[in-house]
């Protein structure tokens, strides 16, 4: 980047009235990073990046913190922190203050922590000594402080699978506060999670679009019992995380093939997986060896983060267009999600991608046996005409039972998460048990992540994260948003008109940089 270009862009950021002080600092840091050369890759990978076959999600040219980091908060609470200058908490007040302090010192791609811990199991041991009213007031202060000090809807708290006073109180607060931050997931186990807790979570979705429901049995089978769900549908190991998330555009990939399904699976897809993996390897190596994040992080020093629990995320998206293209190459007209044969081709593509990723060694990915985790990536705001992840295109979904049958077989392959958003109509409000039934059935049937939207509340789910329609209106009127994710949401609304149709899914991007 030429100095005069750099200066002009820096000046533009410094002067822009649409960004808060903090957003300007973050953008300026992004600009500085962009002025460096990206990690070296082959000409083929550089071309794949330029032509949109492969995407680095605008993570930046010089990785200096992992994309997603899941600190071991439980251990921190047990042992205290020398870096934070805090002894191990002895009561609920100290525990809440400890966590809030720690959150401010946890990096991720967004500049904010993407994981706040399993707050119920973290805090429940301290809650035994306080009455319900005190618990409510303290958690309310905590929840409000999280929203005001970490204004980013990719910040994500977890609950479950066991019932608890803390978990119930958090759900009550979510229904009252109606904040977009933090994002929230309930871990659901067929045996351990009572129906009444799932029902309360369903009512919470009616109020504010949260939580997501995650399949505890599948997650523990793939990641062990120590896992968390962060940002948008990203499930990873606690004490570890993901160095990077790069993604392969399957729609574009299929366009570069012409011989139908078998040729695609045997030749084209392996080539394109290899290109994506090369980019990932370059970025991981840069993070670990050049900027040496793990060599000087207090989280590593205090045993709260371990390089050997890290892996990376290999994202795929555009499966729907990929399948339709492959079907057309063979002279067919069936569409993914609607035609049984086409849908089955989708399953084969995903299974083949999983097989290829599992056979591709990557450096510093001991958290998953030296391999990346496959991820069904939920999109960014520039993805016009390409369907997020492995979803059926928005507005074109078949009836719910067919929708579930079409997408569920994909879920087993995505240990690090998959987003299929189910859209429920208003009749759900009068029959919340029906939603419990569908969530329970979907999990029992092998769905890993279950998210549903109701079409009537103030919340728009942009992909996995939420913005409020009322906040977007304020952004338009005043030009400034306190939540960085609102700025992204506004871009999505402008590009995709999510506001003029059912308030559900579209696009995401997880840093302001990605919105450029």
């Amino acid at each position: 980047m030429e100095m005069d270009v750099f200066q002009a862009r820096a000046r533009e950021l410094v002067d822009t009235p649409a960004l808060t002080y903090r957003q300007r600092v973050q953008e300026l840091a992004g600009l500085a990073e962009e002025s460096l050369d990206p990690p070296a890759v082959s000409a083929a990978v550089a071309d794949a990046l330029t032509t949109g076959l492969v995407c680095d999600l605008a993570e930046g040219h010089a990785p200096y913190r992992p994309r997603y980091l899941l600190p071991d908060y439980a251990r921190a609470l047990r042992q205290g922190s020398e870096y934070l200058g805090l002894a191990a908490p002895t009561d609920l007040y100290e525990a809440v203050a400890f966590l809030l302090s720690m959150y401010s010192q946890v990096p991720s791609i967004t500049g904010y922590p993407v994981y706040l811990g399993d707050v119920d199991s973290l805090l429940e041991p301290y809650a035994a000594d306080v009455d319900d009213e005190t618990l409510y007031r303290l958690l309310k202060l905590m929840w409000v402080t999280i929203d005001r000090s970490l204004p980013d809807a990719f910040t994500h708290a977890n609950l479950g699978p066991d019932d608890s006073r803390v978990g119930r109180t958090v759900l009550r607060l979510e229904q009252e506060l109606l904040q977009t931050v933090p994002n929230l997931t309930l871990k659901v186990d067929a045996e351990r999670t009572p129906d009444s807790l799932v029902l309360e979570a369903v009512r919470t979705v009616f109020a504010c679009g949260k939580p997501h429901f995650v399949n505890h049995a599948m997650m523990t089978a793939d990641l062990g019992t120590e896992y968390g769900v962060v940002s948008c549908y990203n499930s990873l190991r606690i004490g570890g995380g993901s160095h990077t998330l790069n993604r392969l555009n399957l729609a574009e990939s299929a366009r570069r093939s012409s011989g139908g399904v078998d040729a695609y699976l045997s030749t084209t897809l392996p080539e394109h997986v290899a290109l994506t993996a090369e980019l990932m390897a370059a970025r991981i190596t840069s993070l670990v060896e050049q900027s040496q994040f793990f060599g000087h992080s207090w989280l590593v020093d205090e045993g709260l983060t371990h390089l050997d629990r890290f892996s990376a995320m290999f994202g795929i998206y555009g499966l729907a267009e990929c399948v339709d293209a492959l079907v057309a190459q063979e002279g067919g007209t069936g569409r993914y999600g609607h035609d049984a044969d086409a849908t089955a081709i989708g399953w084969r593509v995903v299974e083949r991608a999983a097989e290829l990723v599992a056979a591709t060694p990557l450096p510093y990915c001991e958290g998953n046996g030296g391999r990346a985790f496959l991820h069904s990536q939920s999109g960014i705001d520039s993805d016009l005409g390409v369907t997020a992840g492995t979803r059926i295109p928005i507005g074109d979904e078949p009836p719910l039972h067919e929708h579930l049958a079409a997408v569920t077989p994909n879920h087993r392959w995505f240990a690090s998460g998959v987003s299929d958003i189910l859209s429920f109509d208003e009749t759900a409000r009068r029959n919340p048990q029906a939603c419990v039934d569908v969530v329970r059935g979907a999990l029992a049937g092998g769905m890993r992540d279950v998210t549903f939207n109701l079409e009537s509340n103030d919340f728009i789910r942009i992909t996995g994260y939420l913005v409020r329609k009322s906040d977007l209106a304020k952004l338009e009127a005043d030009g400034v948003a306190r939540h960085g994710s609102d700025v992204l949401g506004a871009g999505s609304v402008a590009n995709s008109h999510v506001d003029s149709r059912a308030p559900k899914r579209v696009i995401s991007s997880e840093s302001l940089g990605a919105a450029r």
Binding site: P399, L400, T427, N431, Q433, A434, D437, G441
Partner: protein, 241 residues
Amino acid sequence: MSPSALLADVVPFSWVDGPGNRFAVFLQGCNLDCLACHNPHTMPRRTPRARSVTVDELLDQVRPLAPYLSGVTVSGGEATLQAGFVAAWFDALRADPATARLTRFVDSNGCADDAVWDLLLPRTEGVMLDLKALDPGIHKELTGSDNLQVLQSLERLVEESKLAEVRLLVVPGRNDSDDLLRRTGEYLALHAPGVPVKVIGFRPHGVRAAARSIPAPTDEQRSGYGAAIASAVGPQLVTVV
């Protein structure tokens, strides 16, 4: 040989035909002739739009969906007109390990005799009963029949603890007088204590030509209907839709 029925339609996931997510079966043919029926195509006993379905076919459809369901509901038309089939299907659901846990509900207009209930009640967890009008004369105007059998059915279902819900379809100008609503509430409080009541405002959508000129009640009217019933049976039992 698997018993068969004349079927109007199936809704694999229904959220408005009983508690939770339900596989709802709409059998063809009705023994009332309701002016305000919102599914008039299900009324005739014989129509080219209906198809025959066997117990085994329906069971095959339910089995893969069972993990997502609270239960099944048989509606219509009037489900009890094909009570033998309903009983056979419920028995099959109960006998199959994949579907045994599902609850089995019947949606009925109550025009069924004791022999029908003798057959169905041991096989169902609950009946959702339509009461088109408490007044026999108004009932006849709205449906072509009086309501003696409906009220007998209601009282028997209460006795056997099988009345899951009473539905009141309120049609402006026909069965929405203050007096009738008050008497209906009092009747239900006395004869069906503790039973949930769903008060449904008439909607002209989908009805026969003769009923299309009847206006839908305003929101205010609808909540007035609900309040009238709630004042007798208790607000916690009343839902207004």
